[in-house]
Each structure stands twice: as structure tokens, then as C-alpha cells.
Subunit: 443 residues, 3 copies
């Protein structure tokens, strides 16, 4: 049996595959009730270890529209897992014969990656803690495609809490990969984290510039705005002699709600939160901008613009159904996703030995260690920087060893370049190196 | 796109439409498993903000019998709305692409009316607090139709708690509208409220008479019975010289459970509650009476009559499926409900300005004011009496203003008759009138 | 209408019927997605009064694979029954028109038997407290059938907590009935209860022998092993001159988890619980043994053998779907289960009068007495021993009366043999006999 295809991260899809999904979604959106034979006889299982009714209903609607059946476990946390069952076991049972595709929501970061390792059927990540929610990102991109016909070169404003919103971080990576320009107008104090900016710079050659956002009107009044743009040749030229980039015409404003539940320990809170209202949308640069929001919204978008034709946030949610139809049908092999190019994919390796180097207590490798083999991806070789392959958190260590030579190095040692990735060992200190009988390199 | 048709109140259906639904339901009941192509490709979403398993399963069974799909959110309260989403937003998302019809259960009175204002697809009210539950009423009427072949002229006994049971109030309005006669044999202290009697008198010309219920045997022993009958010409004649109407032969006894959960503050409680048992059903006048109950029952119907052929309460529940099949298929346009006559429909208007005049703290206009425009229906012009269009509670105010003339009147002023309904303003006192810069009329 | 066929106990199926179900399940397992017309138009209702996600999903998957629809009430306890509805009423409503088959999980022992008495459609017991879970047993037997081609004569090791596991007791009865040999290697202190051994001896002529389990290696090191084997003629001969039976070659090892939730009052607890690991499976006698587990497992099977081809516990769970497809389709009359032989079936009678003689406080006859007629099955006539027909617990009484002669006897009286079963009355003491106006027999 061929290994199933999963969607754990938006990076699992190449740009070409995403485009193909968009084309299928366009067909489905045009006549949503006419595809009820596409997945007849197939079953999707919604395994939700934390409740998220909107996401669950969107997936289940997509599966029903395709003519498939749906198994729902809307609150797994309080059922099987209460009897002490591991996620890996649950996945092997449900994927072993109950369902043809698993839609997984879990509170541990990296849970979907672990599930994919064990599942005989495709796993779709419907949110793993604060980590990823790739179908939300796919849906957001699809909305830009529908509204603007393309993503490359679009001017997209991100507003609100850019610090804690998982949705925004994933969207930033994806926009950067697809070549859109990003204007950040954060709630003061909730700017895009440095590690997000660093990643888009490293992976997609995106440069941050201070943006002149006067033309955005009251949307950006208090913001310390940043402009992120892919530094491809034809675009670099635009920036050579600019210290500030003046925002001219915006294609989309993407607003996010305050992540109040994440704020427990932050003094002061959000203060007066940003709000898109009629006056905001009067700015000249926003004349053609669509307003997007991943929902649920609270007060950050005034209901007075709900009927403005530029307000597409309800359409945006509705389009989650055809794009999820396309994804489900593709992963189950009922429609063709195109030839995989491998672009986007990030290779990962098992940690050769020693302790689990992931520092994230919410990572599935920490919360359910039993069936987990610690895995990592490489960010750079010199100095050696690696991420946990489950939760994407940067690994923290003082030394790196080689499991064959039994030597250990400092992370910036040039000797590390010669070690095969699957022999790498991450050591918190000399004591643990010696406990594993490693000796310093070059002595 | 044509505006969708909703079922928020039983008044939304004309008598002719109800009859047509009965005919469809008869077809469905005769062969429930043979209509699984009727709604193929369509999806119903059960959005239950409070649990009600029986009602939910009845709707979902109906949708599945029609070959449609079902999205279930059995406890919405603890999910999306916990993230602070308004009902109006939830409805716009679910109705915007997830589902083709929404079945809504909510604890706020008027919630379904609000939902209908925002939904792009039909909304069916599956219970909004203590307000309405129109498909229960439709099911009850359908049972009379099946058992007796008609509703007009039937003699229907209502027994038990007639004060707090929402089901009974709706049933009273519907029976009055359809021309049935009603004999009330309440649990002492739990008589039909005066406002219910007043409404049937005003709207349907129904007169209450003291009833002689000796022939009902122990069913009515302690009751302060009342006979409600439509005063149509041919019937009025029956009553001209009667102070007491003697109940002769009953067509149906409709029993209701004690609404214990509503009784918190009522001293004394129900005491010994009424109970239909074998001896009750021995009364001569009940020889052909069917026994109905909206279920769940507790002790108010003895299990010793469960096998009596007159006990139809389990059949009654079962018939909820074909009548809901008829309703779902009609609202989704898959079968024809006949030509709408408008009869039954009650027009409503937005309150022109000022505070929300609804006095009901459980009304959706109070619990979720954000997306609500206060609306009212007119009960009478002289004196001016109006109901909240959401929860149907009578508005309370001291003065009524006109938003164009900026004058205000006492509710019994003849000047009110000249003001267009959409210019009416309801003012609690002179202070608020002046705050809105209104002056007394005729000065 | 013909009375529906139920599955309350595995005893409701004859050996021939089970074999026929296996054949259907083989067909379904070979092409699970090709039977989606088998039950089109039919509906299964999952009524789960306590959560059990795995069991529920397995049934619902089976129904969806057959093309049927599913109504889910995953937590009935907190819904309708909170309004005080009895199980008998719920079943009559759901079975009266909502669904074509009911899958019932309940915490009271005997709940499914009661439900079957009232349901107009087939009831399948998906677990009634600590009593029965017949589809788990059916699934376990089906796995032996698939892996070994037969059940009769197999050598099956039962390991772990054999005292409290409902699953194991049902499996023991079924293995004995099908003629398999059973080797018990219990967790010390958690041996198979004497009443289980007694029942298989009485009903299936099974003899317990002390087993020599040295060849089982560390699996049985500390166990006080017992060998149970059907004493059919050709096998009896094997045992005539053996006091210890040496286990040679095992076909299956069935491991069970510690039933920690049952242990509250047992001092000491389980101590170090048994664990199947790589070393255990190295024993020569286990070379061809499959490893089974009803799941969820915790530590009693090491993950190091998950990829051993003999570890079939995930396959075992997956095979629950085709066998449940066979069962559902049979009970709904869509496929043929063969001619019933009556073998396996145990007749039951109503208790003629007096108090409910069942001593089990968790029995449905105690927890929901309202709609229950006490019923019993006869275990022996001399002395008279009887079981509650709901929970199978042995009745406890001092005297047995006859409701026609109004005499009472001691349970070992020979006079009891002449009393018709439906005239039997079970009396706790002389006082209650006299209260019912019974006099001692033979005076």
C-alpha cells in the first residue's frame, strides 16, 4: 500500500499543488451540491481533542458535499483518552478501518505530525495548539485567489494582534512564499515576533522595511508599521533607494482578534484594541481592499461595515468549504492534485540518541512521549540551528555530537558540516555528553 | 437570490400551508424510507445552544430520511460562543456555505427571529427559550389531523400545568386559529395565563366559558375548568343562553408535565400533580379521546395506560419525523408548500429611535443587543399596544412618540392613529422623551 | 409486524448464526467501500448513556459503510434523561420512528434487555455496565476466525486482570461454547472468578485443570495458571491420566488492561502489572500466537512489539467494522443470518409476584424499576437456582413459592420441580411469604 499523503503544515503543499487545489475549489464552489458522488462510500473522522465547532462543521460540510460519511468525536479529550489511550493508538485504530481520512484537532503542538507517522490514512491538521492550522491558511490564500485572481505581488495589510495569532504567523509564511507584500500594522505591543521575521527572511528572502502608512488613515495611526516584501530581482530594484516604503494601494486588510486567552501573564493587556470601522475604510488606499478576518470576531470589526461590499469575512468562511472539499478529495485520491514538486517540503531526521532536545512543554513529544521518536529539521548548518520537527520550536543546546564518532562540537564548529544529519545528537551540557560517553571533538 | 422562507413561529404558516404540509407528511409517513433522493446533496445544520436530544434527533432523522446530510453542533454554548461570537455572525457563517437549512435551538427568546434576519438559508426555530417551539405545535396539530381527519370543531382537553408550558400556549393559539374548541382542566394554581386568553380572544374571537366537566370524571375533579371556543356565527348560537358548557365527548386529552425547572420561586410548588390513569380514561366522555403528551413524561401519565389504544403519545413523537420531513423539504424548495396566503403572518416594524422598549431580560434583543434592531408588532391601535417582534412580550411604556413630528402622546391618544408604524417611538417617561428632544403632542 | 431481532447477549446468536455473520464480514472486509447501497434509507441511532467513543465510532462507521444514516446521542445522560425520562420511554420514541436500529450503551446492567422489551426496532447492546458487551466478543471471535480459520480446538491464553474484565468473562463463555481451550495466566490476585468457571462447567461441560505453563516463558512466570477445556469425548480422553496439562503451542494471547476504575476498595491494588514485551514473545510456544487486546491498552503491551506481525490488536479493532456491518445488516433484514437454531438462547420468565428478587443495585430492574417486570432464567431445578434475566446476577432467596398453590418451599425441595416456571415466586424470608399469604408446603 502506498504511503498516504497528509496535510500537517501548509509547507506540505507546493505552490503548484495549491494552485491545483484552487482550481478544484472553483469548480466545487460553482455548484456545491453537484459533487455528491465524488467521495461516496468514503468516511472522514473528525477527532477533536479540543472543541472548535466552526472548523469541525466546515470540514464535515465539505465531506458531506462530496457524498462521503462523517464520524464525529467532538470532544475526544473526555472520552477514550480519559482511559489513558495514547494518540498514536487512537490514530491506528481509527485510521485502521473506521475512516478513510482523519481530521485532527489537538491541544499539543505537533500532534498532527505524530498522527501522520502512525496513520494508515491521510491526516489533516485542523489545528495543533498554537502551532499550525494549515487549512485556515489555505482558505485565506484561496480567498485572495478568488478576490484578486492571484497572490504574487498583492499588497496585504495585517492588523491587530500579530504577536500571538497562530493564524497570522502561518499566513505570513505563506504570503512570503507566494510572493505577496505584507504591511504590518500591529496593535501596539503586539508586533510580529522577531523569529517570524527571521524565518521569512531566511527562507523566502523577504526584507522588512519601515513603512509609511499615512495613506492607511486611522487603521494604522498608532502602529509601528513594517513592510515585508520578497526580495526578488525585479522587486529589489524598487527598494534600492527607499528607506521608507509608502503604501499606495492595498489589496486586502486581514484583521485578527485579540488572543485574550493567551494574555494571562502579560501586564496591562491590550488596552484599547484596534477597530476597523466605516471611517477606517474611507482611506483612499483602501478603496479596493477587501476586509478579511479568520473569525470569530468581537469588536475589532464594527458591524457597521458588515454590508460594505469590501467586507468579505463571511464569504471567506464560506469558501472554507470548497477548498476543504478539494483537499479532502485530493488526499483520498478522488481528484488529482498535480505532480508533487517537493517545493515547500522540509526534510526531518530522527535525533540519533540522548534526551529529547525540544524545549517546548506543549509539544506532543513532551506531552505524549511514549510513541514519539524525537525528530528535527535543519535551519542552518553554520552555525547549526535546528527545529523540533513536531512543534517547529527552535532546539536549545550547548553542544552537538556525532553518534558514530562519539565526538561533540560547539554549534558553530565547522566540523559539524561533515556529520550526516541522522547522526546528530543535541547535548544540553558537557555532563550529558559525558553520560553518553561523548568526548570533545579535536582533542 | 430569493429571500429564504423561515419557520420562526407557527404563525409564519397559513392554514392552507399547514394542510399542504400534512398531505406531504402523510406521503412520507406511509413509506419513510422511500424518499432518500428528495434532498440528496443538501445539508441541515443542527445548532443547539442548549441540549434537547429528542428534538435534535427528530429533525436529524427527518433530514436523513430525505437523503440529506446533517451537521451537528449539540452544544454550541460551550464552543464558538465561548470565544465571544454573536449569534448573528454564527448564523451568517453556517448559513453562508456550510448548510442549506439551519435548525436552531437557543435559550434566548426571539433568537430564531434574529437568526432569520441574518441567514441566507431557511431557519427553523427548534425552541427559543420559553417563547415558541413551532414544530412541536405543528406535530401536535398533525397528530389531530391523522387521528381525527380534521382540526376544526374538535373538542380538545388541555390538562396539567397550563401556566408555564410553552408547548401548551402555542398549542392554544394554534387550536384557536384552526377553530378547535378547548377545555382547560389545569392543575390548580397553574391555570392558563390571562394574556393567553386575551390573545385568543383578540385574534381569533375565542370566548371563554365556564365549563361543566363532570363528565370528564377524575381527570377534572379539582379543576377550575374553562371552555374556549371560536365565536364563529354558527357556534355563537350554541352559546347564547349558556353560562356553563357541558363537555360531552372529547376528541383528545393533551397532558403536560410539571415545569419543575420554572418553579424555583413559587412557594408550595405543584403539590399532588394530576395523573391520567386507567380510572381517568373510564369516563364516558373520553371513550374516543386520544391521549397526547409532548414528552418526556414523568408521573402525570400512568404507565398502566401505555398499551391502551387511545394512548398515542409515542406515535405522536414518531409522527414528528414525517411532518419535519415535509417542513424541511418545503423550506428547501424540494416540494411545494402551496401558494402563501399571508394569513397568520404578523407584520413587524423597526422601532424608529430611542431605547429598546422590550422589558424581557431573556429576550435576544437584551442578551445579544449588538446585531439587533428593536422591532415590534402592533396588537391594537387604540389604545396603542405593541409586542416585541422577537420575544412577543408586550412592550411597557408611558408615552408613544412620532419620529417625524417629534411629538409624544399617551398610549390611548387618538392622535396615534395617524402615525405611520415605522415612525413610532416608545418612551418610558417624560425624561427620556425630552432627552430625545420630543415635546408633548397638542401643546 | 414481526417482532424485531435483538443482540443483547452473545447467547442470542447460535453458533451457526455467528458463522454466517463471519462469512458476511469476510465479504465486507474484502471491499468495505462497495456496500454503500446495502442499507440505504435506513437509520441507526447511537444512544450512549455513558461515553465510549471507540465503540460508538466503530458502529457508526459500519452503518455509514452500509450506506445508512446515523443519529448520534453521545451523551444521553446529560440530556433527555436529565428531564426525568425513563429508558423505556426514550426507546419507544427513538425506535418508534426516528431510527431503524438502536445501538445502546448504558451504565445499568440489563439496560439492553429492558430496551429490547420495549423497542419496535432491533436493539444492539453496546455495553451495559459491567454486564455484557456482545459485539466486542463477536469481534474477538471473528479475529480468531480470520487468523486461524476456526475457533474449535484453538489454544487461547487469557492474561492480565481476569477478575474484573467484563470482556474476558464474555470471551470465556463464548470460547467455551465454541469449543476452544483456554489457558488462564492471570495477574496474581485477579484470577477468573469461581462463578465464571462454574458457569462454563455447568453449561458447556468445561473442566479446569492445573496447567504447566513453563513453556509460556515470562508471560506466566508468576501466574497461578488454569487450563479450561471442553470435555467432549475425544478430548476427555486426552485428560484421563493428566493432572497437569502442559501447554505446547498457543494460537492466541489475549491481554487485558488493569480495570483500575473498579479497584477503589481493593487494598494493595495491582502492584506490578503483567506486560507483554519482546522477551515474552520469544517463548517457543508463542511462536505462532497472535497477540490480541480489546484496547485501549496502557503499559500491559510494550510498544516494542507493535510492529511484530503477531501483534494484531490494531487489526482486531479494525475488524470490528465488518463484523458490525454484518450484524447491523442482518438485524435490519438486509442480509440473511441463516436459520435460527435456538441454540444459545436462554428462556426467561416473569416473576409471578412479590418483590423484585434481584440483589444487584446496578441492575436496571433496581435503577429504573418503573417500566420493569422482574424476570429470571433458570440455572438448575434441584436445587432451584435462578438468575436475573436483566443483569444475569444469581438471585438470592430463602424460599420459593408457587403463585397458584400459594405454598412455599425451600430451594432444594423436590416439590419445586412440579411448579411451572411462570408461577415461581422468590421469597427472602418467612415474613414476606406470609405477607403475600403463602403457607409452607406440605403442612
Amino acid at each position: 500500500m502506498q504511503a498516504p499523503r497528509h496535510l500537517v503544515s501548509i509547507d506540505d503543499l507546493s505552490i503548484g499543488e495549491v494552485q491545483t487545489l484552487f482550481e478544484h475549489a472553483d469548480r466545487f464552489a460553482a455548484a456545491p451540491r453537484e459533487f455528491s458522488d465524488t467521495c461516496r462510500g468514503m468516511i472522514a473522522a473528525s477527532l477533536f481533542f479540543e472543541p472548535s465547532t466552526r472548523t469541525r462543521l466546515s470540514f464535515e460540510s465539505a465531506m458531506l458535499r462530496l457524498g462521503g460519511g462523517v464520524l464525529t468525536a467532538a470532544d475526544m479529550r473526555s472520552s477514550s483518552s480519559a482511559k489513558g489511550e495514547s494518540l498514536a493508538d487512537t490514530i491506528r485504530v481509527v485510521g485502521g478501518g473506521y475512516a478513510d481520512v482523519i481530521v485532527l484537532r489537538h491541544s499539543s503542538e505537533g500532534a498532527a505530525r505524530l498522527a501522520a507517522q502512525y496513520s494508515p490514512v491521510p491526516v489533516i491538521n485542523a489545528g495543533d495548539g498554537a502551532h499550525e492550522h494549515p487549512t485556515q491558511t489555505l482558505c485565506d490564500l484561496y480567498n485572495l485567489h478568488v478576490e484578486r485572481g492571484k497572490i504574487e505581488g498583492l499588497e496585504v495589510v495585517l492588523a491587530g494582534d500579530l504577536k500571538y495569532s497562530r493564524t497570522v504567523h502561518s499566513f505570513v509564511y505563506a504570503l512570503a512564499r507566494f510572493g505577496a507584500n505584507i504591511i504590518c500594522t500591529p496593535q501596539p505591543g503586539f508586533e510580529l515576533p522577531e523569529y517570524v521575521v527571521q524565518r521569512v527572511r531566511e527562507e523566502f528572502g523577504v526584507a522588512p522595511v519601515r513603512a509609511d502608512v499615512r495613506r492607511l488613515g486611522d487603521l494604522a495611526n498608532e502602529s509601528d508599521a513594517v513592510y515585508l516584501t520578497p526580495q526578488k530581482p525585479h522587486q529589489l530594484s524598487l527598494f534600492t533607494d527607499l528607506s521608507d516604503w509608502e503604501v499606495q494601494s492595498v489589496d486586502a486588510v486581514y484583521m485578527t482578534r485579540p488572543q485574550t486567552e493567551r494574555l494571562e501573564n502579560q501586564e496591562g493587556g491590550y488596552g484599547q484594541y484596534m477597530r476597523i470601522q466605516k471611517s477606517s475604510m474611507a482611506a483612499d488606499s483602501l478603496r479596493d481592499a477587501v476586509v478579511m478576518h479568520p473569525l470569530p470576531r468581537r469588536d475589532e470589526i464594527s458591524e457597521e461595515i458588515d454590508n460594505d461590499p469590501r467586507s468579505i469575512y463571511f464569504k471567506q468562511a464560506a469558501r472554507g468549504v470548497p477548498i476543504r472539499m478539494a483537499l479532502l478529495a485530493s488526499l483520498m485520491g478522488k481528484i488529482d492534485m498535480g505532480t508533487p514538486s517537493g517545493e515547500g517540503h522540509r526534510e526531518s531526521w530522527p535525533v540519533a540518541e540522548g534526551e529529547n532536545p525540544c524545549p517546548n512543554p506543549a509539544c506532543i513529544s513532551r506531552t505524549e512521549p511514549r510513541h514519539v521518536t524525537p525528530m528535527f529539521t535543519l535551519q542552518s548548518r553554520t552555525p547549526l540551528r535546528a527545529h523540533c520537527a513536531y512543534c517547529s520550536r527552535e532546539l536549545i543546546y550547548s553542544y552537538v555530537g556525532c553518534s558514530t564518532s562519539k565526538h561533540y562540537h560547539k554549534p558553530d564548529s565547522s566540523g559539524l558540516g561533515r556529520i550526516s544529519a541522522d547522526h546528530l545528537v543535541f547535548l544540553p551540557d558537557e555532563g550529558s555528553a559525558e553520560a553518553l560517553q561523548y568526548s570533545p571533538a579535536g582533542r
